[in-house]
């Protein structure tokens, strides 16, 4: 038990070092896009509201709209930042052979790397919240709601990781898998409320998404951060169900893919 835990801790440390080795790269790849996305939305909504604090669009006045997008930035960092590009590279370049002699398997290695990434993102998010709060751009919810939202984001990040894992596994069959990751990113950004609050979407579209994972990836955790009453249990159940399903699919893909795997250079 102690040995297993030690292996995980050491691998998480390696993952941390890998993520922080090229700091500029990490900033430009992970944090930069989230900040630019927020910057564009801030300017866009400032232009739409035109400085009128009384204008209400879809139930949002200017401050609550900016509040919504600030928390979208945080949820994006916490729950949807991880990229599974290394998994696909490991498979494509035949590097999974090396895991045969590692004391930790492919799944454990990448999961530990994901945990390291999440710890790093948690630190960055807390720092960002601190800066944004001190600028007066956002109001903090109660401690329990805040912790609940962080926990919800972690569950969503597990779902996100399982999707990244599936896209990585597809490298057994496809030459390139980046387009699947990008495609899922585009669809989820659009349908999860990361670009616009779901109140601005047509009613039929919002209703049809109720049992899909999308509203729970951004809109729900943002609403928890904003201190609004949402059905957390229902959201959690749906995300956990989707994570279990995608985890099962990833495991099946791994088994099938491994059977047809030929190690490059062996």
């Amino acid at each position: 038990m102690t040995t297993t835990l030690g292996k995980w801790i050491e691998t998480i440390k390696i993952g941390w070092s890998t993520h922080t080795a090229y700091r500029l790269n990490f900033f430009l790849q992970i944090i930069g896009p989230a900040l630019v996305f927020f910057f564009v939305k801030y300017n866009l909504w400032s232009s739409i509201y035109g400085g009128d604090p009384n204008t209400v669009i879809g139930g949002y006045d200017f401050n609550s709209m900016i509040n919504y997008h600030v928390w979208t930035l945080i949820v994006g960092l916490l729950a949807q930042g991880h990229m599974g590009v290394n998994m696909a590279m490991d498979i494509r370049y035949g590097r999974i052979s090396a895991y045969l002699i590692y004391p930790i398997n492919f799944w454990e290695y990448h999961s530990a790397s994901f945990i390291a990434f999440e710890l790093l993102q948690l630190m960055i998010s807390l720092l960002t919240i601190g800066i944004i709060y001190s600028l007066g751009l956002v109001a903090l919810p109660s401690f329990f709601q805040f912790m609940g939202a962080i926990g919800f984001c972690f569950v969503v990040s597990c779902f996100w990781f399982s999707i990244q894992y599936i896209s990585g596994m597809l490298a057994f069959w496809l030459e390139e898998t980046w387009m699947i990751r990008i495609m899922f990113g585009i669809i989820s950004a659009f349908l999860s409320g990361a670009i616009l609050p779901l109140e601005l979407y047509p009613e039929w579209l919002v209703q049809s998404l109720e049992y899909s994972p999308f509203p729970y990836m951004t809109y729900y955790p943002v609403k928890i951060f904003m201190g609004e009453n949402v059905n957390i249990l229902k959201g959690l159940l749906i995300v956990v169900a989707w994570t279990s399903l995608t985890g099962f699919i990833a495991s099946r893909l791994w088994k099938k893919g491994l059977k047809m795997y030929t190690a490059a250079g062996m």
Binding site: L28, Q29, P33, V36, L44, I48, I57, M179, I182, M183
Partner: protein, 262 residues
């Protein structure tokens, strides 16, 4: 080398790229879907906003959707002709493949940025073009506007390429190329909304220092009102400035380049 020889080399690049891309059919189809999803999410985002507001800045729904589809046309040209090469530059710098590029009797900028072409994006180009024509017709654009649109698309594409070539050249100074590519994509993100949505300071920076806002805003504003000719003049000046900046940066980059393979 003469223009004719460059044309022959480019046709060989194109033939090789078509052959390579069509040999992986699943990738080919996925790339088309990727573009279509991107177009749909971009158009619907603006459309949903206009369900709740009548104007954004001075523009109504069809004016903004025409701007967005104009940018999609420019994006698709960019995707088809140069986008793949930005990602390969980072790899080539790390594994020393540029040694051969610098030795060839042809412009190294040409080989580095025009070697790989993405034929699927030519298909997406027609979808984007269809959208632009659809929204242009809704705006009842006059014949003179339609006649200058091709020239404006070419100018916008040239500026977009030159800015991104300059940004990508920074990879010679960084160890990893991925971060620079993400930086480049963030500038694309900024350029996808018209200049008037930005507050004065970022607007000035993004129009006159790193002029990504001129790519779409200058031509489309010019189509709507000839009185905004000054924006088009800035666009032409930006093309000239960034052409010389690229030449300068590339020269410095070549001096700095250390072969990873030797």
């Amino acid at each position: 080398m003469s223009f004719k020889q460059y044309k022959e080399v480019y046709s060989q690049f194109l033939a090789a790229s078509i052959s390579e891309e069509t040999s992986f059919r699943a990738n080919f189809i996925l790339l088309i879907f990727l573009d279509l999803f991107f177009y749909a999410s971009t158009i619907f985002t603006a459309d949903f906003i206009y369900d709740h507001v009548s104007t954004i800045g001075p523009w109504g729904r069809d004016q903004l959707l025409f701007f967005i589809s104009f940018m999609l046309v420019v994006d698709s040209i960019h995707m088809a002709t140069v986008s793949t090469n930005f990602w390969l530059l980072g790899d080539n710098l790390k594994n020393g493949n540029l040694d051969f590029t610098f030795l060839k009797p042809i412009s190294s900028i040409f080989i580095v940025f025009f070697r790989y072409i993405r034929p699927t994006a030519f298909l997406s180009f027609f979808v984007a073009l269809g959208l632009m024509i659809f929204y242009g017709l809704k705006l009842n654009l006059p014949a003179i506007s339609w006649s200058i649109i091709p020239i404006l698309i070419v100018l916008a594409s040239i500026l977009k390429m030159l800015i991104e070539f300059c940004i990508s050249t920074l990879m010679f100074w960084t160890t990893e190329g991925i971060g620079i590519n993400f930086l480049r994509m963030q500038f694309q993100q900024l350029s996808r909304w018209p200049f008037f949505v930005y507050s004065p300071l970022p607007r000035r920076i993004l129009m006159f220092i790193i002029p990504v806002l001129l790519i779409g805003s200058a031509p489309v504003s010019f189509i709507y009102s000839i009185q905004t000719w000054n924006l088009m003049a800035y666009l032409v000046i930006a093309i000239i400035v960034f052409y010389f900046l690229l030449k300068f940066l590339w020269k410095q980059a070549a001096i700095r380049y250390e072969s990873a393979s030797s």
